[in-house]
Symmetry: D2
Subunit: 360 residues, 4 copies
């Protein structure tokens, strides 16, 4: 194994590029993983564009699959050579927030469980560091390809968690705003958890068509229809739950407007500013509504269940891939995601099977 590696890093506001960095070294509870596949998330774009403060040179990325390359002395569940994946969120499993069941807020810090890029180098690299490896790594079944697994790390994890938090009663109704990759996964998640009617809200025809193939019964086009009126009508008076996956204040406010009194709004969109709760969607503060916000969950046990859903064919996430890249071309993948051009949903990025220097 070489001791330097290539990594796609933040180079200043709006700028990314490859850098050379030392291969990370694991602490006693940690592991280092050699990347075999990765992808890029819209939140990477948002971070680079000012949504998060970070040092120049910080490696991007939090979605990946790989092989264990080194383990710390206290790691007992994983060995060098194991094929693994993990959630984008990597809690320590021990802090008060983790013990309370909110590992995403690890360290009692807002989004503290989200450590890649935010608190240390991310996964868009030849190798990456995994804190608390026993808690966070998950073995990948041999019969699953990297592409089948990779979108479970954040897109499906977040979308399914959103659907779960929506507490849709069996056969109930739900609207999902925004049909990017997280929204599509929320649609699939709602279907998987027993929703009786799934309404997608999406203006782009290509994404609208994908929504249908991911399980939406109906699609509302906000450019053509009055979204609130349409969703209210189609659901017979307001949906049981609405999921915000568009990341805009307008969609968030509309989620409250289309949800029936007593219903649930789940936010899984990334918002950089304040949000408004519209008066008419809140019943003067007495509408018995619930608003939940949700970071991608973490931990081995959750990820194991997600991989079981993939392996037992409850869900096929590979149609999220619209573009393939080799890792050395991932700057282009980043540019496409930043501009959302060429109808991109997700780029699948293949790393060299034997590692950067062919030696692993």
């Amino acid at each position: 194994m070489s001791d330097v590696m290539n990594a796609l890093a933040f180079l200043g506001p709006g700028r990314v590029g490859f850098v050379r960095k030392p291969v990370p070294v694991p602490g006693p509870r940690d592991a280092v993983v050699r990347t075999t596949a990765s992808s890029i998330c819209t939140s990477d774009i948002r971070h680079v564009n000012g949504g998060m403060t970070m040092p120049v040179g910080r490696v991007l990325g939090h979605e990946s699959v790989g092989m264990v390359s080194r383990v710390g002395a206290d790691v007992t569940r994983f060995s060098v050579g194991d094929r693994v994946t993990l959630s984008a969120v990597t809690p320590d499993g021990c802090c008060d927030a983790c013990q309370r069941g909110t590992p995403g807020q690890c360290g009692n810090t807002m989004m503290g469980g989200y450590k890649f890029t935010s608190r240390k180098d991310g996964c868009l690299a030849d190798y990456f560091h995994v804190n608390d490896a026993d808690f966070n790594l998950t073995g990948v079944p041999a019969e699953l390809s990297d592409e089948q697994v990779i979108y479970a790390t954040d897109m499906f994890s977040t979308g399914l968690a959103g659907a779960l938090d929506a507490q849709i009663p069996p056969g109930g109704t739900v609207a999902v705003f925004g049909q990017g990759p997280v929204g599509l996964c929320a649609v699939t998640g709602c279907r998987l958890l027993g929703a009786g009617l799934v309404i997608a809200v999406e203006p782009e025809p290509d994404r609208a068509a994908r929504a249908t193939s991911f399980g939406a019964d109906l699609v509302v086009d906000p450019n053509r229809d009055d979204t609130v009126a349409q969703v209210t009508r189609l659901s017979g008076g307001g949906v049981d739950a609405a999921i915000e996956a568009a990341g805009t204040p307008e969609a968030f406010a509309d989620c409250l407007r289309v949800t029936r009194a007593g219903g649930v709004v789940v936010n899984i969109g990334y918002h950089v500013g304040d949000l408004t709760i519209p008066h008419e969607g809140f019943g003067r503060g007495m509408g018995d509504k619930t608003i939940r916000t949700r970071l991608c969950p973490g931990g081995r046990e959750w990820m194991t269940r997600l991989l079981r859903l993939v392996r037992n064919k409850r869900v096929d996430l590979t149609p999220l891939t619209t573009h393939h890249f080799a890792f050395p071309d991932s700057e282009r993948a980043f540019a496409l995601m930043a501009t959302k051009t060429d109808k991109i949903i997700k780029p699948f990025i293949a790393h060299q099977p034997d590692g950067p220097a062919g030696r692993g």
Copy 2:
């Protein structure tokens, strides 16, 4: 029984006064109750001041105790002469919202379970009408006085429901914003449900002192302290839950700011406009927070449990009374509540024990 009665009614924006009205007549499932005690709620004031559209002559009030005067043909659980009380919210028990467990939103209409004053005449009258009497009335144990019972109808029902929705873990921490009667009842509710630290937020010294006697461990004065910093410090990094009972957008926003990542905010305040979710209290939409809003629950079963708490001395609500009135003087009670002068918390209004004409 006379067939006309006295009632305190809405006479136009900002104006209330006594009117003569026919004694109501019950439909088959309904009852008519002769009032023995009543009170006035801040929401009565808000309605009169433009918070709700209603016809001139509409009777105010939704907190009362009385004797059953007439019952409809289908009523099986109550008879003329029974001493009863009931929630301020009177659902039909049958609509979709009621069957879903959100009776406050009866008829799938925002706050549809709140029928007094909003949809029909209220209780500030010699007699009042109770829809779906078997579902809504509750027998009052003989050993309890009207005053012991009356604040269970809305103040304690709302405050306790707020504490319940806050899902405070046993021994957890909570902040309650606003120490009017609902806030005080929320403090008591938090104690009753196992909170380990209750922090009240209240600028008025008289109300702050009451908060302590209702069970607050600590009181923060927003006029003197930086509320967010103080509550965060006193709770060791943010409360498990915050309850908004002040009815201001600022308090609502502060509730989000003082709640730890992964915590719960419950709104039981009455808000007439839009609310803002502050960016820093929401974790870019990924702080795993929950916001609930809550109307006073309804139904006989809930009210029976509340009266058990009173009877078995879990809670004493009579210290909420700061002023006593006879019903003919209730215009003055209304004026005091409207101006919040003379340190009023709640006015206890006694009606004539034998009815307006001495005949029942």
Copy 3:
């Protein structure tokens, strides 16, 4: 409408046959429905064979679809001629148990919500009586056939409720014991609610094959395998939840044995005697296990969601039909269900479209 009708009734222990009875008359909140389709439940057989005490002449049956024939004066949601169905369980919606959210135990009486046959005549008749019609009836969408709808009334309602109570985490593992119609519906329910691995336990090859077509991933044959060892092995150490739908004490005990520490056992089987909790499946009373028992839920709102699942093709219940009968031949259907011969799962019983005398 004729004022007498044909009905399949209990004629003494182990005996059933047709009787002539007056067409029922609705009270103010009730409806009378003309039956267009019905079925027979294993519990009908158990009742007749001594599981329940009832008078001779009591009409059997609690699964049916029909047209509203008469309504009481207080019924507001349904009119004569409406096509309707309803749960096998018909609570009053008002008693303490209903207000607490356990309508199956209506009147605070064990299984008090189950009124057909138990407390009044059942549905295996030309007409049947529906108490609290606004609470219990559900309109049937025109595009659905009677056969698509009928098994939602009890089989799917019970099986889905069992799956719901199992609280299977998304992607979790579950074992369903017994693949009669309720067990098959529990399998479908587990799939519908996101189970990642569904193991059916069933010795009959025909039923085992059906289990697979209803969504089981694996089937364990208790005649060939050591059930406990097999389920434990296949689930990687014990299932997250087990559902008892075989109605035997042995299956109930095995449910506890195959469930991981901290898991859930749901009983939806009908048991006539005491049950044993085996020591090794309970952790000396400290295994953090949960056992739930579940009667088929009732009420319009629940049934509306079940019909939405049928209409939007989440589930197709018609493969439960193994035999078709005309109502006059339903004694034969009863005999087949009693002996479980000819591989019967469910008999679909068609009633005359225009009523018994061709006049409706």
Copy 4:
């Protein structure tokens, strides 16, 4: 610090006595604590009498308070000299069961989180070993005495968890069977969490009197009354929840009999054999009842909240102490607990403040 110590150990079936053992050594994530106070649990007695298989020489005890004496290299939250306590149950915080929220079943093994005595030496010693110290230890506030804290480690932790699992609705009714120390703590827990009526079941007059002082509203004497009939009558038709803390199959069966249809039974008793679910308490398997079983929870976050309840005077556990001993006399304490003579509830055992050799 000496490297050998005194410990109270299992010496064969029914026999205990002091042994000399090496002071334990911490692994990287572990700590060793010098004991300042301890107590003896009925489960220690049961283990010694054959309830658990263990090697001769295994140290007993799982309730203690002390000072950190040594810490492993990975421990970050605690230092030598910190005053600490911890739950009787010490999960690793990382296994599937811990990640699922059932740390008591750590390692996916029935009661696997219970490691003292069961899997390693217990706390009735001069020093004891704490696995996963950052996860399990809790700092003790300086203003609290050892005696105020010690019963939180198992008695109150178990009793409160039982009350929590009972999901008593606010103002609801509950019966607690058995008024040993865990039952008394369950009574206090029910009061703390908002029960409106707490009925204790206990034949011993001394324990019955204690039940009242711990918060029971009523006490039923099973030697004088028909327990089932009395509890049913006093609760107006069956309690919302019943808690088994007597550890007998009869009490477990009665819990099912006194609970209303739709109610909850929680088992916190220690049972060595099979249990019977009585037919009449289960509604033929359709009574919508829930049975939960509960091991004492573990983890720092839970223990911190329990200590907050003690510190903020929500609960005073010191009246559980009926007898005081110095550690060298703890064999006598064991004998008293084994015979339940002299009205013993709990023995408080003081260890030498400076350690066994006066040097710490």
